[in-house]
Structure formats: C-alpha cells, structure tokens
Amino acid sequence: MTAFFQLLFQGIALGCIYALVALGFTVVYRASKVINFAQGSLLLVGAYLVSVLATGLNLPFVLAVIAAIALLAAGCAIFQMMVLQRVLGQPVFVLVMITIGLSIVIDAAIPAIFGGNARILGDPWGASAVHVGGVTFNWVRIWTVLCTALILALYFVFDRFSRYGLAMRATAADEEAALAVGVPVRRVYALTWAIAGGVAVVGGLFLAGFPGSVNPSLGNVSLRAFPAIILGGLDSPPGAVVGGITIGIVEVMASGYAPGWLGSDFSAVAPYVVMILVLLCRPYGLFGTRPVERV
C-alpha cells in the first residue's frame, strides 16, 4: 500500500506540471485558436532563466523566480506583438507554423548558449524530504503541488473577476463581437501570451527540480502533456487542470502496475489510451465547448 501512495503522490506532482503546461496551451488557444507548439520550449527557457538568475547572478531564489516570470512573460508578450500580430488575419495555420518555428529556434539556441551539460537549478529544496508512514514526500514536489494550486487559483480569480479576465472570455466567445464592443483584442492576445510565459517558468522550474536537472531536453514534456489538453478540452482551463493531473497519475500508475504482456513501456501509451476513451464519449474533451452550428 505504501508503494501505491508513493506512486499516487508522484503522479499528482507530475500531473501538476502537466496541468501548468496544459494551462499555457489552453489560455492561448481559447483566445486566438492558435495551438502554441512552443509551449514546451518556453518551459525550457523558464528553467534556464531561473537557473541563470539564481546560480549565475546569485539572486535569492524567490526573487530569481519572480524576475524570471516577469522576464519571460514580457518576452512572450513582445514576441506576440512584434511577430504574431503582423500576421493576424492570415489563416490560423500560419500562426501555428510560426510557433513551431519559435520552438525550433529555442531548442537550438539553448544548447548553443549553455552547452549540453545539465545546470544546477539553485532551488532551496534540493533532495530534502519528509517521510510519512513510509511514503516519501520530497519538498520540491510538495511545493510543486502547492504552487500549482496557487497559480491555478490566481488564474481563475483573474479570469472571473478582473476586467481583462472578462475581456479574455469575451474574445474567446466571439472575437468580432468583442472588437465591436470595444474590447482591446490585440492587448488580450498579448496578455494570453504573457500568461503562457509566466506559467511556463513555474512549470519549468518544478520540472527541473530534484531529482531532475536543468538540461536541454526539458522541453520534450509538452508532448507528454498533449493528451492532457485534448482530454480536458482544448479551450478549457479547468479541463487543463483535471486533464493534467489525470494524465500524470495514469502515467505513473501504469509504469508501476502495467502487466508485462502490455509491453515494456505501456506507461507512455496509457495516457493516449485514456485520451481516446474519453474522446469516444465526449468528442470535445471533458470540459470542452461544443460548437453551436446552424444546420
């Protein structure tokens, strides 16, 4: 039973990281219908930013994280305004291709600048842990869960009660109508990118926490998080959270309990199996919006 709870905790912690990745995807998608394929690479940049600020410039860790969030959020907003806004009006496909290009550039630039060796994150937790009834809770994983919860709460408060949250929802519902009533749609797009950048820093830093490290392959996690986004519904932030945590638990449990006849790496397949099962019942995901169409 200890083993079960250990795996459950690891699954939830991994799922929180997936939830943060998925949130970055859905925030951008909901407003602009662009699937941001660079989200994983933003995570990579986030982790390196924190590492450079905390170990290179020796900032206190909390300050390093806040500075990294501010920097990457600003960077993403600027990228949206300088590049993506120029091609507004083009088919969404063009914007998606640009995000793929961005991810290629980042994935090549990071090892070119920092080399292929792993870096130290500079976090205060390291390998420290608490043990309860035989189950190990690494501090970095406890903080993963807490911070994810905090960020999600903040996001939902912002989305629900602030003017820009309302503007984001209005843009998501109908871009033209939103424009017509004076919603600053361009600013909303830039804002969604800034949010995507901010959550990427948090996702990246926890992904690189013990026993992981800051290394150029961190960005690959976005592909693992993909079933979570589809499962939850591409345009639904709550779906991203539920989907992310579900997929995290499924992956870790499958790797612990899948019988041998399912093949040696069923854990990598299991999330997709769950995703397909959900889509069979709910084609737009658990929380996705079913488009209303006139027939």
């Binding site: 690891q10 390998a127 150029p216 992956e251 870790v252």
Partner: protein, 437 residues
C-alpha cells in the same frame, strides 16, 4: 540574461578547426592523386597524404556543437593533444599529422555530408563519434576502404574491418561487473537492471544476461524506461520491492541521476552499477570539477555508485603512460579539466599513430595499405590509460577488459578506481556477430 558561456576549449577547437581545415585543403589537392607513388622513394601514397611536405591529413567527424558536444569537444581535444605531441616530437618517421575537423552535431545526415566533404582530402577518419552517426557512414567507408576511428562502443561495429574501435563494448562491461560481484562480493547477490528501451539498452542487457548465465546470480527484477520519461519512481520501486542489492543502470546521465536520486530520497540505497555512458562529472557539480557547486543528487551519487569503464583513473601515477599524458595535456590543452573523453581521444590517437607507423614501415600509405596495417596491427599498448588493443583479421572487440570505479566527491574527475582492468569468464566467450543491415 547571463553572458554567453563558452567553454575555453570551445574557442580553441573552433579556431583550430578553421586553420587546420584550410591547411588541409591545400594538401588534399596536391596529394590526393590516389594510389600514385609519392616523392619519398618507394612509398606509395593515397588521398590525404602529401609526400612533398610529409604531411598526413586525418578527418575528424565529431559533434562540436549541440547536446553531445559535451563528449565531442573533450574527445577531439584529446586527439589534438596527442597529435600535437607527436608533431612536436618530430612526427612519425618525419611525417606530420594534420586534422581536418567537421562538426556533425551528432546527426547522421550531417555526418554523411561532412564525410563526403572531406573524404578525398584525408588518409582516414581519426574520429567518428557515436553509433547512429558512424553506422550512417559505414557503407561509404566500406566502399572506399576508409579506415574509421570509431568512438562508439556499440558491439556491432567491432566486426567491421574498416572500423578501428578502442576500449571494450558496453555489453562486456556488464558481464565483467557481474563476474566481480559473484567472485569478490556475494555469489548469492540479488541483481536487477534498468535499461533504456532502445538498441543502446538492449546491447547492455545482452551483456547482463550473458553474465547472469555464467554466474548464476539471483536476477530479481528487470525494467525499462523510455527517453523523455521524467518520473522514474515506479522503476525504482520495482527494484526496491524485489530487494535488488546491485542495480545495473543502462541509461543517459540525467536519467541515471534521477534513478539514484529517487532511490536515495526513498531510503533505497543499493549499489548502482552504471554502464559507462550513464556517467558524467557534471552530475556531481555545476562545472564538473571537485571545487564546483554540488548538485542536488551529488550526495546520493557519492560512494553508492560504481562506474564501469575501460579507462584508468585520472592522475593515477602507477599507470605507466599517465605522466606523459598529464604532461602533454598541460602543454597542449592547459585549460582541460579532468575528463575521461579527453583521455579516450588521446588513447585513440595513440592507436592511430601505431597504425600509421606500421603503414609507413610497410611503405604503403594508400587507403588499402592503411587498412591492411590496421588489420595486422596486433597488440598495441596504450600506456595503461586504456586496455591494450589487439587487432587481427579475425576482428572482434579490441579489448574484453573492464575496470570498476566508485564515485567519490573528493577525487579529481570524481571516479576512484578500485578494480583494475580484468576479464571475466563470461566476457571471454561472448560472441560478436556482424549486425544484419
């Protein structure tokens, strides 16, 4: 943003590549007649051999940028260092060596392009780093009788006549480690293995199984992971619940560190047996040296981990070739930190020098002549830095010996050798067949 960090060596390598490259282009055109007789008496020369200036150009196909540059740069620097020392000592019978370096980025396609770019300008390839990359040029090399100094320990390469591999195939390392456990530690020990789910992992598993068969240890658990897995709790738990005392890890460094770190934080501390490539000094500190800032997993790795390999401990003066090695490194690569890929490159260049010496003695520096010299090279001592190579027309691994080190946070290079090169019974009889392509 931080400043662009470049290893001091990187700049040296890049600059070296350019100057060396230009020089070699000149010699390539004049000496690239292919099989004609050169100016130096009866000596036959081939591409990359300039009899007028007595210069032999050798190719280097190495990942000098990208993630694998962490291996490519020190390995290439090791080769440069050895050849610089040879040239400074008057060359091989008066012949000087020049390197033509190409960046492959560890990408098979780039490797093939780089190979084609320099193939007619070099006598042979002094380095081709990596299994997938080397396999990509294997057919070309066979066709052109191009000798390849393959810096890859994949078992399937050792049966190809054009491949000159030093060191021991990974598979044999695992079999030897089981030999050591069975004979020196506990013949009833419980052992397990975690391996990467691909050709690299399968090769390691093969040696592990050969060892199990020979020594009848208690195999209790076997599990895999996939590249990209970030959480390895389940794999570690499998080992733990099976009670494995020795866990073989056939992985990349970051995964190996995750496995050991996960185990330690859950209070599970078996002896972790790392197959060579699972190890990197950067797992211990930020800059890979003992004075650097320790990583979060450093404490877990310290003293609990064995690393299998075929290289002597850096700075071990009881090794006959160590003094010369350290002196050459100090003179020609002063910025070099202790790095076992550097030692590998240095040793590989030593083997290649022996091949060239034999070819020159036979009066034949054509491609065929050089290949023939390699096939009949026999036993060549590498100064004890690595096990001696033994090339014969029967092919097979250059060595079947393995040394075992323990990770230690205070030793320069972090590895403290405790079992010198040895060959176990299972390793003696392991068969190596050419890979079916």
């Amino acid at each position: 943003m931080g400043k662009v960090r470049m290893h001091p060596l990187a700049a040296v390598c890049a600059a070296g590549a350019i100057t060396i490259g230009i020089a070699a282009c000149g010699t390539g055109s004049s000496g690239g007649g292919g099989g004609g007789s050169g100016g130096g008496g009866a000596l036959k020369t081939g591409p990359g051999v300039d009899a007028k200036t007595k210069t032999i150009s050798l190719g280097v196909l190495s990942p000098l940028s990208g993630p694998v540059a962490a291996i490519g740069k020190p390995l290439t620097a090791g080769q440069e260092t050895y050849f610089h020392a040879v040239n400074a000592g008057g060359g091989i019978n008066g012949w000087k060596i020049k390197l033509v370096e190409q960046d492959t980025k560890y990408d098979p396609q780039t490797e093939v392009q780089a190979y084609n770019r320099i193939a007619d300008k070099v006598a042979f390839m002094a380095q081709s780093l990596g299994s997938p990359t080397t396999k990509a040029i294997q057919p070309l090399a066979a066709q052109q009788q191009m000798l390849i100094g393959a810096a890859a320990q994949d078992s399937s390469l050792v049966t190809d006549p054009v491949m000159a591999v030093i060191g021991t195939p990974y598979a044999i390392d695992n079999a030897n480690a089981l030999d050591y456990i069975a004979k020196q530690k506990d013949k009833n020990a419980k052992v397990g293995i975690i391996y990467q789910n691909d050709a690299y992992g399968e090769d390691g598993l093969r040696g592990y199984k050969a060892g199990l068969k020979a020594y009848h240890l208690r195999h209790v658990a076997e599990t895999t992971y996939k590249v990209g897995d970030t959480d390895l709790t389940a794999q570690v738990q499998k080992m733990r619940s099976a009670g494995a005392q020795y866990v073989f890890v056939v992985a990349t460094p970051s995964v190996a560190a995750t496995i050991v770190g996960t185990g330690a934080s859950q209070g599970y501390n078996p002896t972790w047996v790392f197959q060579g490539p699972a190890w990197s000094g950067y797992l211990m500190t930020a800059d890979g040296t003992t004075s650097g800032k320790p990583t979060a997993v450093a404490k877990a790795l310290d003293s609990n981990v064995w690393v299998l390999g075929y290289e002597s401990q850096w700075g071990d003066m009881s090794v006959p070739g160590m003094a010369k090695f350290l002196a050459d490194a100090k003179k020609f690569a002063p910025a070099q930190i202790p790095d076992y890929y550097f030692m590998y490159g240095y040793s590989e260049a030593k083997m290649e020098t022996a091949v060239l010496r034999k070819a020159i003695a036979a009066g034949d520096l054509t491609r065929a002549g050089i290949l023939n010299a390699k096939l009949h090279l026999g036993k060549v001592d590498l100064g004890g830095l690595m096990p001696p190579v033994d090339y014969t027309p029967a092919l097979g691994p250059a060595s079947r010996m393995t040394g075992i080190s323990q990770v230690s946070s205070t030793t320069p290079g972090f590895l403290k050798g405790f079992r010198a090169f040895f060959m176990g019974d299972a390793a003696k009889s392991m068969q190596f067949k050419a890979a079916s392509r």
